[in-house]
Symmetry: C2
Subunit: 339 residues, 2 copies
């Protein structure tokens, strides 16, 4: 059975949202999972950031409205019977926590604006939604996010029951894209001032920061070149928000692929740190672990390294692109459609 | 001969400034070093921050004016023959660098306002001034600053010729007060989520951040207590500028003194990092190394640890409280008074 929009008129529909730190994604699907054999969504939408703690509620409401309007054609809105949103910033256990409260009020306002009669909406964390996106909509296991940030969560009966790291770029997110990007710049500076070994990262990071040619080393450093490099690099980095350091993570992957020893050691350490993060959840061999985030995707720079380390713990990694399909699955469960 | 203000009327005077990231200090002294046998300053003054790169020139001029006015009584201003200022943010080699240019124009404007006819003023970095503050006003050797930030410099003929670290809190300053303070909060979070060992820092950092009693652990952690701790601690830290993490460094010193193993390991690592920073300057055994900054003072938390490590490199640490006396010495040299 296909997912033709004309066929679905009058059929019960569900909406799943994945509201992350950089983007909000929305998927529309039929409520009856049996009728959704090919798994293609009926509609998809996207809009700006959806972190329920850092995006102010009026702006969050705008983004949700835009993404839901994109995904759900006007004439189908009356058929929506269940909505679940997974939100970054809504990781707390209690529905009274600010992230949950903000997410709920923004989502209810967005649905009301669009005339979607969703009834009670479900709010969960983006990590719980990502976990539910794995094949079979698992209820128990481990979730690991490794993108710009890094966090692991134990999921019990579809709810997060323990969190490890996710402490943000200033204090944690060890092994994340930010962590790798900052380490790349640190390695460059350490090579420049003699504390660390030579690495191609000094050149690639310098070029990515737009340093003038004369301040980017090629070959041997002179003392004067080292000083010039620092004097240009530091203000260039400080002129941007710290989180922008995450954009250097791909340079590390490239350098490691080209056998730069510093870059390879750095990715090894990132994988070690993520493994420590998972290990703190006290996994049992054979437990399911669902990963999401760019570092761990099919071509992710940490995928082979982390897969090997988790194998040693008896764990096999499932990767999902994002949590919107998980939110759809949870919306179906909330409606009773998949029981 | 004493340093009586009445006696010095008509005598030639010099002014030295130490313009640091948190405070500007000014010292007034007689130009003739032989006449200054007891070394007590004729006048002292202090005002707000003097970093030549981060404090805007009009504000910098205000702070310099206030501190110099404090130190130099009005009727003596006509007797000043030489002024040298050591500025944070003026570490670059070239007098055309922004830090140098800002410092010079602010200092000239301040002296003009106060009617101090100083002639050409000398600008150097606060680190060069601190180095010159050591007994005998040395010309060559190594300087190490370990306060909120951390940087080492090779000084040749009274000028910095190589810099190691000083890369700021985001990218470096390894082993600094900021570094130790952030590590304390990281250790607390890692204890809370099971990645790291138990440490008293979880409790002391939590209390210093004003966490509610029920969110501060005492004794064994439950999973719920761990989650509550993280949920209160993270927003409390993120509500402040990152550099404020430096205020937790004294908690680490206290915990280490009370035999907390995590805190002890942390101070050991800070001392190791500062040693690496010094080592990158390729010191020769017996070279003079002058330190400044709160971590390395007479009761500094890193003083015994770093002293031992530098001994192993054949280096002995001299500590100076700040660079204002060094700036005085440099002002005398500029005037020819000590030659």
């Amino acid at each position: 059975m296909g997912n033709d929009l004309n066929q679905t008129l009058g059929e019960e529909l569900v909406v799943g949202l994945d509201a992350g730190g950089t983007r909000t994604r929305v998927v529309l699907a039929v409520a009856d999972v049996v009728a959704d054999a090919d798994g293609r969504p009926l509609g998809e939408g996207a809009a700006g950031p959806g972190n329920a703690l850092t995006v102010p509620v009026p702006q969050l409401t705008e983004h949700l409205t835009e993404a839901v309007a994109d995904a759900v054609p006007e004439r189908l809105r009356g058929s929506v019977v269940s909505v679940v949103g997974g939100f970054a910033g809504a990781t707390a256990a209690s529905p009274d926590d600010p992230g949950h409260v903000n997410a709920r009020s923004a989502l209810i306002a967005a649905l009301r604006r669009l005339g979607v009669p969703a009834g009670p909406v479900g709010i969960c964390s983006d990590i719980e939604a990502a976990f539910a996106a794995a094949p079979g909509t698992p209820a128990d296991g481990l979730a690991l996010v490794a993108g710009t940030g890094a966090v692991a969560m134990r999921i019990t009966d579809r709810h997060g029951t323990a969190t490890v790291d996710g402490d943000g770029w200033l204090l944690g997110d060890d092994g994340s894209g930010f962590w790798i990007g900052r380490a790349a710049v640190r390695a460059a500076l350490r090579a420049a001032d003699g504390r660390g070994p030579v690495t191609v990262l000094a050149e690639t990071v310098g070029r990515a920061l737009g340093l003038p040619d004369e301040a980017v080393p090629s070959g041997r450093w002179t003392r004067a070149a080292r000083e010039a490099y620092r004097m240009h690099l530091l203000p260039a980095v400080m002129a941007e928000p710290p989180i922008r350091l995450a954009r250097f993570a791909p340079l590390v992957a490239e350098a490691a692929a080209a056998k730069d020893a510093v870059a390879q050691a750095l990715l090894d350490e990132a994988a070690d740190r993520l493994t420590d993060t998972v290990r703190a959840l006290e996994p049992s061999p054979g437990e399911r672990i669902v990963a999401t985030g760019g570092l761990l995707g099919p071509d992710g720079p940490l995928t082979p390294r982390l897969t090997a380390r988790l194998h040693a713990l008896g764990l096999t990694l499932d990767w999902v692109a994002d949590g919107s399909r998980g939110a759809v699955a949870l919306a179906r469960l909330a409606h009773g459609g998949a029981r």
